[in-house]
Symmetry: C2
Subunit: 332 residues, 2 copies
């Protein structure tokens, strides 16, 4: 990599997987980082932000802000941005970061401006770009013909719907890509998707009108990070090849690079995950596929502790941001 020209890396996602990738990559000053963020979240704090404040959801943005903000002198604000209230009728379950951005939107009269000011205020390195400014929702069509509206309903499916495959993901109403997102993608040297919930964090961006097209037309190398665990209701029993098939389905091509963890998931974690019907993703990628597969130990050594005030289910096993970022960086 040339010493003087920064490489432009565009991460597309939202959620904890993207947080991990950004946390690792921000340590490389040689990178010009942007993140395109899903705007369809409808659970927990976001339901209130959408339904009661009439704003677009900001939880995915909030996580990116924390990931990309300079540690000093913003340690206190970073702590606050990850804080979730556990008391107060109507307040319990809300995140400070979402309330912060809601107040700023009211003060500045625009959510776009509020997000910009939040990034300035927390000293964010890189650009955080909402995938769309249209108010829209995810729609999943399952293999039993059932359609479900809303990210939260897809994330926590009713009854036995979680056993079924999502055969088509779309948005309703139709949403147009943020022009800034299109621009970033067109200028990228590398585009990173995953890890993260395949439909609600990753493909949720790709199905916004204009995004898939610009990824396909970009000269950037496409890198995909395979999830560590399957997720009931989204990637039930998915093997690595299933993930790749879904990427090909929505982007009409395979990624140029695939990162796969080859370290055994600790058995304690595997048995905990059985409670939520998750299992380690089986690496069944055939060497005949036209892509470079990078295998390594990408697991974070510490388990994640679930916050009791958090009403949503969070997973215990995480990618390690440093080893992931180093592997990515070596490909540039």
């Amino acid at each position: 990599m040339s010493k003087n020209i920064k490489k432009k890396v565009v991460v597309i996602g939202g959620g904890t997987g993207t947080y991990t990738v950004l946390t690792g990559l921000k340590k490389f000053p040689q990178l010009d980082l942007s993140v395109i963020v899903s705007m369809m979240d409808s659970g927990g704090s976001n339901r209130v932000i959408r339904d009661e404040f009439g704003l677009l959801p900001t939880s995915d943005i909030r996580q990116c802000v924390v990931a990309l903000s300079k540690k000093k002198p913003n340690e206190l604000l970073r702590k606050l941005f990850t804080y979730r209230y556990s008391a107060g009728t109507g307040i319990s379950g809300m995140t400070f970061g979402n309330l912060f951005m809601a107040a700023l939107t009211d003060i500045y009269g625009s959510q776009e401006k509020a997000i910009e000011r939040t990034c300035e205020f927390l000293g964010v390195k890189g650009k955080i770009i909402p995938v769309t400014y249209d108010n829209t929702n995810l729609v999943a069509l399952y293999d039993n013909g059932k359609q479900v509206l809303g990210e939260h309903a897809i994330d926590e499916p009713d009854g036995n719907l979680g056993e079924h495959r999502i055969v088509e993901l779309s948005v309703f109403p139709k949403a147009k890509a943020n022009p800034a997102a299109i621009k970033e993608i067109s200028l990228a040297d590398m585009i990173i998707i995953g890890p993260g919930d395949l439909y609600t964090s990753v493909l949720s961006n790709i199905v916004v009108d204009g995004i898939a097209e610009s990824v396909i037309n970009s000269k950037a190398k496409l890198l995909f990070v395979i999830n560590l665990m399957t997720r009931w209701g989204q990637t039930n029993h998915y093997k690595a090849s299933d993930f790749l098939a879904e990427i090909k389905k929505y982007l009409f091509k395979y990624p140029d690079y695939v990162l796969v963890n080859n370290r055994k998931i600790p058995s304690r974690a595997v048995s905990w995950y059985k409670n939520v019907k998750s299992e380690p993703v089986n690496d069944d990628i055939k060497s005949t596929l036209d892509m470079k597969v990078i295998r390594g130990n990408f697991i974070h050594s510490k388990y994640y502790h679930k916050n009791i005030s958090d009403k949503l289910t969070r997973s215990l096993i995480r990618h390690d941001s440093s080893s992931l970022a180093e592997a990515i960086f070596s490909l540039l």
Copy 2:
């Protein structure tokens, strides 16, 4: 005043009057400022903070934080600290500042620490000292024998109770002064009380066990700023002499200095105030009293605009922070 030795000024209060005094005084680098703040607020945002979060009320502290914070680089945080939500079930009516301090209390495990960190974070000049860390409420005994518990109930009295005089103010349960408040008072060169709601913002501090005694024993000059308007339910039809009599009743002495506005209140304001049963305070202070009376134009030229999301009634006429502070400074 000596050039090198800072004069120690201790303001005792809470609410908008104190905000005005502090805003004016902070411009004088020659002053070592402290404010001792009432902790009995129970209305609006504070009810939630007390009843649902189980914390001490912080609205009076929040106002002092904004008054004493450095404008740059904290302009955005100052704006946020004065922001009150107008949407969200359970959130509408809450102030950002109170939610900020509630989150910090949870993060640091102590409200004292949270207040300290808030002051550091917003670059507060001077010290903000809660009058007590005991969880207590104001109790007012009226001249009809009725007793009312709680700042909010006293502030907005039911029925015709507002016509009656408060003959005794106390706290229940008994509350002990914060030792830091006692210390500041003992070291003060000047103690300032008022303007502000006489019972719920000013005397609410004095009735905390230990405060009156330390004011009486302090060598500091005592300065009292007479309110511009009476307030139904607290100082209904009070003249300046009634205010002074109440100060003497709770502090066993008259103030050394009294600041009284002598500029006519604009008739438009007087007629608006009739709706809330308020009238200009009549200056009937006799020259025979052993105190220095400073009369001047202390009215702010602009009217205050009531925020529609604010559930409490706020007054329109304000003291002017600059002329008030200059008059005070000239006495040091």
